[in-house]
Symmetry: none
């Protein structure tokens, strides 16, 4: 029974699939045929499988979720997998403290500019309020994105930009476009946990390359490309998530050269671009938009409620991606929402907003590093910008266990292994310095660590 | 801003040049320093100039004239495939007539209620404007959907509803959840063309069952289930797209019985529910939410710009679908947009809006049927509601060719075979009666038909 349940849960067997014959499974598992008969009968009684006269046993459509992305249990009890931080953070009680969440507090965002844009949109014509909009999305926003990319040295023609429902949707669309189940994809180790969740949904093999303070470990990177022949490399440059590191120009060049030599497609997620205090090397800047697909979003600096992302890529790819986005969503972001985002970005106040964010984040980085040091958590590096701080726990502490314990005290932490394809970050945690203002966070974490290290 | 733009355009200022100080330019142009600050900020936002902290403003190397994004690259040359109608309609010139498009004219939609909702949202707290929102989406909107489903005899618990980025996204999520490449899926023939586009993206085998004025041809339906062993049946009840037919209670019962006997999962798309003048049999109403997954959206009756759809399904499936939606999009619809939709639906004006729509549509159905009759196009049936009319062209006319010819005169038609998995609807066209008010449409179609039939 466990064998069959396992295969259903892991999607080796999905709804409608025929089960192995009794003789075959008996031989395979080394139990007697009568034991297999008994097991199949019980699974039938449980409604997991059904018998078709004369043609064997089949998995029921109503048995289990065929796509076992995670156990179907309440988020609070679920395993600490790549979904754990997202679901805890998104569905947190308003009172919960969220040092592990991946966005800024609401009062750090430009809400007044959004209110202004919303009132302006309410005064515009009916079309902007009720129509689907064009397949590529808001012209005003794409013009702004073009200028921002040009400032990074990435020239885009009008037919090289597509707006999407979110930055994650942008990555997902490109993955659907280039990947097939069983392909191999390279990620940084550690990398943003949702890259792992998304790639798992695409049923590909995920290979991590250790990340250093100046980018991927280039020797390991080249070795993995040679050995694994991956289709795709997914990374976020600008500021790396979760470490806050910046890739060096030399490493970026060598990474791109290696990927070019092995003909690998690249998704460069630049969602933290506006937090970088200085120009940062970009693969898209070195490559243009040949094998690099640049994606981004405004959820971190404008609004996550006005959901909108974008893809900058080769024109022929954009044409295919437009079809795919119509087939899978009949369009991208809310046209109304994107008009508001465009208004905020075009307003003169946006630059001041970003400069103030950078000042506040620099202060919060310093204060958080000090507070963490006092409870024995050492920053891996001191990032030059952004809100992520990658901290190492004291010897003997397991960050997953610490996160579980802290959750009881309504503190949502981000344990290291959700970011690690190799599961080697058990002593690390990602901290969002903008969410670390409350001293209770450090008291709760210290208690949780003590309970392990004594 | 004009002064600086002019100097950049006339090369008085070139890349890297330092701009006049704010005080100097204010004195020179006789405007206030704060006006110059605002102008410089906007120029920075546009990427024409950039600020170097402590040393003033400089002309960007990338100060380019704005890209001509306005003119879109509409794929007018492409084959008439399931994407043809969508892309022509979505990227149409404002002057084009769109009898083939799948939505109501902007001035038929409740724009005033949306404006009111937008102004109300602009007065609400920061969170609603900038946060990601919960994994299931707006509680207010889910409550409303729950009540509407209950009125259809479908009881839902709070954990059986999930908001999605659109109705199409809802279908796509469920397909990703239950389908694997190579699976077989049954659709109606004809069916909504984007079902075919979406299923093609999932790389499954599509089998169509002829649709009659009272629903699927039940003998053929049962035969296909027995022969093809499909995983899924995708349909839209309420009002069928493209024919506007309503399934009969007897047919609905027999269809569901056959699907149950063969253990097939069902996606019931109910997007046209609010157009039905009377209660319509629903598979979800007969089955509950056991093997039927009910999806819907508000793009046809509230706004397509405030994109939002929903899934009603078994609780254990919803848990898996939430994970999938986080992995693939990091959430569903724009929380801001869904709050506005919820406000419109909750307002007393919505019922009156729908009643007036039904009156206007009934009138338009009659007038369009007459106008089509005069050019030899015979309605397949006279639908009891909605905006779709499925018309048969005169003998010898091919609707794909008619659509191509009409496009030259800026009339976007919907040829029958984009709806037909078997390619047997070459003499049919779908007409949106709400978009058929202009007599030019019928003149252009008549000319296009004559050019074939002589």
């Amino acid at each position: 029974m466990q064998v069959i349940r396992g295969r259903v849960a892991s999607r080796v067997l999905v709804a409608g699939d025929r089960l192995p014959s009794i003789r075959a499974l008996a031989a395979e598992t080394g139990v007697s045929p009568s034991t297999v008969v008994e097991a199949y009968d019980r699974l039938v009684a449980e409604g997991v499988i059904r018998a078709r006269r004369g043609s064997g046993f089949y998995v029921c459509a109503t048995a289990l979720p065929p796509l076992a992305l995670a156990q179907e249990i309440a988020p609070k009890e679920r395993d600490i997998d790549p979904f754990w931080v997202s679901r805890q953070s998104l569905d947190a009680d308003p009172q919960a403290l969220k040092p592990g969440c991946g966005w800024l507090p609401a009062d750090w965002m430009p809400a007044e500019a959004i209110r202004k844009g919303m009132r302006a949109l309410a005064r515009s014509g009916d079309g902007a309020l009720v129509d689907y909009g064009s397949t590529r999305g808001s012209v005003a926003l794409r013009r702004i994105i073009s200028r921002r990319l040009a400032a990074d040295g990435v020239e885009t023609a009008p037919d090289q930009l597509l707006l999407t429902a979110s930055g994650t949707s942008a990555i997902d669309l490109v993955c659907r476009f280039v990947l097939r189940p069983g392909d191999t994809v390279v990620v940084d180790d550690p990398c943003y946990f949702n890259f792992r969740a998304l790639l798992r949904a695409h049923q590909v093999k995920i290979v991590g390359v250790p990340y250093t303070p100046s980018g991927p470990d280039i020797e390991r990177f080249e070795a993995v490309l040679a050995a694994e022949r991956p289709k795709l490399y997914v990374t976020n440059n600008g500021l790396h998530n979760p470490t806050g590191a910046m890739v060096s120009a030399q490493t970026a060049h060598r990474v791109l050269s290696a990927l070019t030599a092995h003909d690998v497609t690249i998704i460069e997620d630049d969602i933290f671009a506006d937090f970088a205090p200085e120009p940062v090397p970009h693969l898209a800047g070195l490559d243009g938009l040949d094998r690099v697909v640049r994606i981004g979003s405004f959820s971190k600096t404008v609004s996550a409620s006005l959901r909108c992302g974008y893809i900058a890529a080769r024109p022929d790819w954009i044409e295919g991606l437009i079809d795919l986005q119509i087939a899978a969503g009949f369009g991208g972001p809310s046209p109304a929402a994107t008009e508001i985002v465009a208004g905020v970005l075009a307003g003169g106040g946006y630059r001041r907003h970003i400069e103030e964010l950078q000042r506040k984040l620099a202060r919060a980085q310093g204060e958080t590093a000090v507070a963490l040091g006092q409870i024995g958590i050492e920053p891996w590096i001191l990032p030059r910008g952004g809100f992520n701080l990658w901290g190492q726990l004291p010897d003997g502490a397991d960050s997953a266990q610490v996160a579980r314990t802290a959750l009881v005290d309504a503190v949502i932490a981000a344990p290291g292994n959700v970011y690690s394809a190799s599961g080697t970050a058990g002593r690390f945690m990602r901290f969002n310095v903008a969410q670390c203002g409350d001293p209770k966070i450090f008291a709760v974490l210290e208690k949780a660590i003590r309970s392990q290290t004594g």
